[in-house]
Amino acid sequence: METFNFLLALLKAVPWSLALTISSFGIGALLAIPLCMMRISKRAGLRAIALSITVFIRSIPPIVWLFFIFFSFSEFVVQLNAFVAAMLGLGLITAANLAEIYRGALQAIPAGQREASHVLGLSFWDRASAIMVPQVFRYSLPACSTYAIGLLKDTAIASTIGVPEMAQVAYQISQQTFKGLEIYALAGGLYLVISFAMAWLSRSVDTGLRARIER
Amino acid sequence: MNSMTIENHNSSVHPSSDTILSIEGVGKKFGTIRVLEGVDFSLSSGEVVAIIGPSGSGKSTLLRCINQLEPQTEGIIRVGDVVIDALHAPSKQQLSKLQRKLGMVFQSFNLFPHLTVLENVSLAQRKVLGRSKREADERSMQLLTRVGLAGKAEMYPSRCSGGQQQRIAISRALALDPEIMLFDEPTSALDPEVGLEVLAVMRELANSGMTMIVVTHEMRFAEQVSDRVVVMADGRIIEEGPSKDVMRNPKHERVQKFLTAVRDR
């Protein structure tokens, strides 16, 4: 009976974990676009700045970013609630990682296509929207979904700044009932189930897209 | 799939007392794709046989079936007292016995890049034949000297040219004292002049009495060094006989066309 209550408590926290995953991913996916464009810019200065930003973000542990944003922003700028702080921190890290994925996908598009569309007289925006973006989307999807599944696991870190997602709930219950074995096994299992669901979803989308945009 | 030279075809399956290898009805399919069909072939001790033919004729596949890198899907392969039947998967002991009798030289050499030349040649001697390090290294140096590469013993393969690497590969195979040496297009990945070094080694090996099966595009080698030439096309043997006969007066029209095309390039 107690196990059932544990499970219920964890399930109530799932929306938080998912919300954090989706919102961080969304922010990161958007921010990654200008970052990626800087990375492939013709101007060496922009490329260097983008590279430095990316490397810097990825060289600092997520928990430090979250603490920094949560404690320092709150101190000096504006009182952020834990969810927003976690969303911003994870979003920042996601942006750095997705920019690299986008870049890889862009490089996978044969150079001939860029040349052909140039010669056809398509404007930059036409080229970008009609030719590049759909293919970048298609080619980066596998890596992006793999990253998203990793991001779900990273949201557990938000438990350290008090976001009531799955890891937080597990911790609270373990401290209150001293039944750590059970609760953490349940929590771990739940993360696995959600990861498998996400992986299945991304495979279906990928198969669907394959039919439309063949390599 | 028209006339096969029947007399030559049958005369190849002669159970003479020094038959060291025989293949009966060997076929190979990869899924639904047929690569070899109805191949009958035998080899006597000390014979050098060249297998020639257009690309895709199944020559390499036949060689790879002989040493079971690919198991055949039909037919029987006999090497000495080891019999491998397509219907029964060979045991580990059988495979191991087979490997001991056969030495193989690959088109892409396949030397171990992270070991020195000497280590490449000595490794199998120590691990398979159980020779001591000293014994193995001595034998390795003998073989390397024989192919003129004793000076390269302590170097890594990447520092050797293609022709040198292939000669080292030959030494590596010879170090295990095989009964039969198999060569899978040994010079195809080499520049023509460099290929000559390798062919010289192979010629010397043939003259010393080694039993060899050589899949090759080198027509002069086929004519001058080998005793017998086997011509394959579309997965079958279409002509076979003493090398000078086949190379100069081929009976089969397809073989005539092939040889003319190759000679006139």
């Binding site: 920094f68 890891a167 750590g180 | 490794l123």
Partner: protein, 218 residues
């Protein structure tokens, strides 16, 4: 600015102490995690069904569960099974399992990348399978794996920061202590971040140089 620097120099010794802990735990986790990762890489492709299933389970669990959950499972959970681990032991076990799971995938990729001709040469020379793996295939695979493994080592160093939740006195734990004592969170966290970056950024540079050099050989 002077205040900042003087604070930093004041805090540095303690943070350094914590960093040493982080590096030790990371090293120990890698030391046992990577060899197990190699075993799992071989095990997941094994022909023996039992071995294959066990290996796949260990990999999926080690990769599928958040590291934080693994850490807290070993530290807060195992006492229920009458196994009490110190925070260091729990950290090394949990991080090692995570390492084994992730590196098994990296190493599998490396094993597949060794040219097929190498295996064929070993077979035709009659080398027994285990010997061929040990002397021919694995050394070449590890060379190929080196850049991604190094990258993973850096990720693992950053992951030690999570051990702060199970009372390990590593870098972030010390930073947190200083922060709560001095209320200068921003300052101490900046220094902490820089300390991680000081190791991870050069490592990233070295890894990409290595990758460039390796791809030249191919």
């Amino acid at each position: 600015m002077n205040d900042l620097l003087s604070n930093w120099s004041e805090w540095l010794p303690e943070l350094f102490d914590g960093y040493k802990f982080s590096i030790q735990i990371c090293t120990l986790a890698l030391l046992w995690g990577v060899p197990v990762g190699l075993m799992l890489a071989i095990g997941t492709d094994s022909k023996t069904k039992l071995l294959r299933i066990v290996s796949i389970c260990l990999v999926e669990l080690g990769r599928g569960a958040p590291v934080l959950i693994l850490l807290q499972f070993f530290y807060f959970g195992l006492p229920n099974a009458h196994v009490s681990l110190s925070s260091a032991a729990a950290s090394i076990l949990a991080l090692g399992w995570s390492t084994a799971a992730y590196t098994s995938e990296i190493i599998r990729g490396g094993l597949k990348a060794v040219p097929a001709g190498q295996r064929e040469a070993a077979v035709t020379l009659g080398l027994p399978t285990m010997t061929a793996m040990r002397i021919v295939i694995i050394p070449q695979a590890m060379r190929i794996c080196l850049p991604p493994l190094l990258g993973f080592a850096m990720v693992m160093l950053q992951t030690t920061s999570l051990c702060f939740t199970i009372a390990l006195p590593e870098l972030v734990a010390r930073a947190n202590d200083i922060g709560s004592a001095s209320f200068q969170y921003m300052s101490v966290l900046m220094l902490t971040g820089l300390m991680y970056a000081a190791v991870c950024i050069p490592a990233t540079v070295i890894t990409s140089q290595m990758e460039k050099r390796l791809s030249k050989h191919i």
